[in-house]
């Protein structure tokens, strides 16, 4: 193991990891640019590089991008990645209170701990955990999506209607149904538009519902004066909140566990961690108003997925998510077929790659802590300058994912429709959660129904499914009970 550590701590390797991580943070911080896109684009470039260095570069991008998504989520209410939506719920209110620097500090620390913990698990238990993940079938995937959707109940608080939050989640799931039906191959609800054949991408929706609505509201605000009291607050260095470590630990464990399961883990992990955190918090009433505990759990959760997603990827050749799939492509390009051979025949490349991710987590921790106070000053930029610049990036980000102007119109449509729904008290976070988790839920449900020969009992049969139903119950029943109690009083 010592020789692998030596490889990682050579000057060339450290520089490669640092470049990859910083680039990842920048990419993750720009809505419309995803870690999958960056890793996918750079895989061919690593072909001419030393395989170990190439993999370290891509690993750095993956780690950096997962953290980077939280920066605009906190500062501009614009999640750079879908996994940062839960972070925006708590981060942006903190930013508006002049506590953006603390929110960024909590976010980077939680991301570091979650990421490091998951890589440690990958290093120590990968082959064992991969065998357990194989017991996870479509029925369990459906239940995992339901667990994520249970987060909707947490999003609704005493100020917003639970029923409206659930309706918003269902609207998102219905929008996700548009496109080609995977079962029959026929088109559903596309209204004859060829742009809708592949369905509605979540990125224009995410940009429209978060970034663009924010800009429309700022543009139409009564006053554009900057709150000068924020300048003093920004200059104050707040210490890390007490008791935050248990929320980070909770998120790290949850994220790693969910990351190991194949699927789009990071968003589900962030919301489930956020939900768990709200349940155990002593200051539950502060959730939704800028509670650093929520940021800690969500960020530890989504970064925990990084190492977790590589467990089935490296040991079984089953990618944990789309970024892991792109990374798997890099392994294959370099002649390394995922499986036990990676840990035997190619151990001199695989282990340095895994160890390099510890360094990558350290790099974004240093970058994040160093720049947090300066980044937080973004909140002080005059709205008349911020609005056109962010709007231009919103247009660019919507276009860049599929190179389609149609997506730009979709983004504007989501912004306008979302603003009306928001003013009527519907939760936009619930809507986007439904839109992202809808396809995962449908995939698990339809495949489960096929395996169960049309009987829904498949969703209750396995012992994992039974445990998951209990967890869903634990997540849903207490808030539903308190909601009904508050309605009665």
């Amino acid at each position: 193991m010592f020789e692998y550590i030596q490889i990682v701590f050579s000057f060339e390797a450290l520089l490669t990891i640092a470049i990859g991580t910083v680039a990842g943070v920048a990419i993750g911080g720009m809505p419309g640019l995803t870690a999958t896109m960056a890793v996918g684009l750079l895989v061919p470039f690593t072909y001419t590089m030393d395989p170990t260095m190439g993999l370290m570069l891509l690993g750095g991008i993956y780690c950096g991008a997962m953290y980077g998504g939280s920066i605009p989520a906190i500062l501009l209410n614009t999640p750079g990645t879908p996994a940062a939506v839960a972070t925006a719920i708590e981060g942006y209110p903190m930013s508006k209170q002049g506590r953006g620097a603390l929110a960024l500090k909590v976010s980077v620390t939680a991301s570091f701990v979650g990421g490091t913990f998951s890589v440690m698990i990958l290093l120590l238990f990968a082959p064992f955990l991969a065998r357990q993940a194989l017991a996870f079938g479509p029925a369990e995937t459906f239940l995992l999506a339901l667990m994520g959707l249970a987060g909707i109940v947490s999003i609704a608080d005493e100020n917003s209607s639970l029923i409206k939050a659930l309706i918003a989640g269902l609207i998102g799931m219905i929008i996700a149904v548009i496109g080609t039906d995977d079962m029959s191959g026929s088109l559903r609800y596309t209204m004859g538009m060829i742009e809708l054949i592949d369905g509605i991408d979540f990125m224009p929706a995410l940009i429209g519902l978060f970034s663009m609505i924010q800009m429309l509201e700022l543009a139409g605000a009564h006053s554009h004066a900057i709150d000068t009291s924020l300048i003093d607050k920004q200059n104050k260095r707040e210490p890390m909140p007490k008791g935050i470590s248990k929320h980070i630990a909770l998120g790290s464990g949850t994220g790693t566990l969910i990351g190991i399961l194949p699927g789009e883990g990071a968003t589900i992990a962030a919301f489930i961690s956020y939900n768990f955190s709200k349940r155990i918090s002593k200051v539950r009433e502060l959730f939704g108003k800028g509670n650093p505990e929520g940021i800690a759990a969500a960020e530890a959760g989504n970064n925990g997925c990084v190492g977790g997603s590589l467990v089935p990827t490296l040991t079984l050749g089953i990618p944990g998510n789309s970024v892991a799939a792109a990374l798997m492509g890099a392994f294959i390009i370099h002649g390394m077929i995922p499986g036990p051979e990676l840990f035997n025949e190619y151990a001199d490349r695989t282990y340095p790659f895994i160890i390099s991710m510890f360094v990558a987590n350290g790099v974004f921790l240093i970058v994040g802590l160093t720049f947090a106070p300066y980044l937080a000053r973004i909140a002080l930029i005059p709205p008349a300058i911020m609005v056109p610049v962010v709007s231009a990036f919103a247009v660019l980000g919507s276009y860049a994912l599929n190179n389609a102007v149609f997506d730009v119109y979709m983004m504007i449509g989501f912004a306008l429709g979302g603003l009306v729904l928001k003013k009527l008290g519907f939760s936009l976070e619930a809507l986007i959660l439904g839109l992202i988790l809808g396809p995962i839920a449908e995939g698990g449900f339809t495949q489960g129904m096929i395996i169960g020969h049309g009987s829904p009992m498949i969703f209750f049969e396995s012992s994992i499914a039974k445990v998951m139903w209990v967890i869903i119950g634990v997540l849903l029943i207490p808030p539903l009970y308190s909601y009904l109690k508050s309605k009665r009083t």
Binding site: A23, I27, M30, L33, M37, A38, L41, S161, I163, K164, L166, I167, L170, I171, M173, I174, V177, D181, M183, S184, S186, R188, Y189, M212, M215, L216, E217, A219, G220, A221, H222, H224, P382, P383, A384, I385, V387, P388, V389, S391, A392, V395, L396, Y399, N403, V405, V408, Y409, I412, L416, L419, V420, K423, L424, G425, E442, F445, Q447, M449, I450
Partner: protein, 151 residues
């Protein structure tokens, strides 16, 4: 328009959508009938039932008549929306750079900013950043570079 009336209209629309969505599953064929159709029916029934409950609360619960206000300054709000649509419309023919070079200063002025140097530097900064990061580093295929001579 009163907020409660818009709320009722939206909920009524959702109920109509739920019925249409449920009925649409009759058109599913083959294996989709036992799989995708069931999923869509579940969504349709759920949103329909919840919308009916919410509409019931809305009608039978006494609510103050508050006007639905999307924005405090309708002129700036609509102005930004129009600029966005024009930006998107110009995107395919003129590319990103020319419309963006017009969009950013126009919106800044529309929102009441009157410092030409700051506006100019910001616009140039954004364009250079996009060129370096999106075109040079990430090779994102933005339209309009051919218009400028093909980079």
């Amino acid at each position: 328009m009163a907020k409660k009336h818009v709320d009722r209209a939206v909920l009524a629309l959702l109920i109509v959508m739920a019925v249409l969505l449920f009925n649409s599953t009759a058109g599913y064929t083959g294996i989709a009938l036992k799989t995708s159709a069931k999923y869509v029916q579940f969504l349709a029934v759920s949103i329909g039932v919840l919308s009916v409950i919410q509409l019931g609360f809305n009608i039978f619960k006494e609510q103050p008549s508050v006007k639905l206000k999307l924005t405090d300054n309708m002129g700036r709000f609509v102005g930004l929306l129009i600029c966005l649509v024009l930006f998107a419309a110009a995107f395919e023919t003129l590319g990103f750079f020319i419309p963006a070079a017009i969009f950013i200063p126009v919106v800044a002025v529309l929102l009441g900013y009157r410092r030409p140097v700051v506006i100019g530097l910001t616009t140039v900064g954004v364009l250079i950043f996009v060129y370096l990061v999106f075109i040079q580093l990430l090779s994102v295929n933005l339209p309009g570079l051919e218009f400028l001579g093909g980079v």
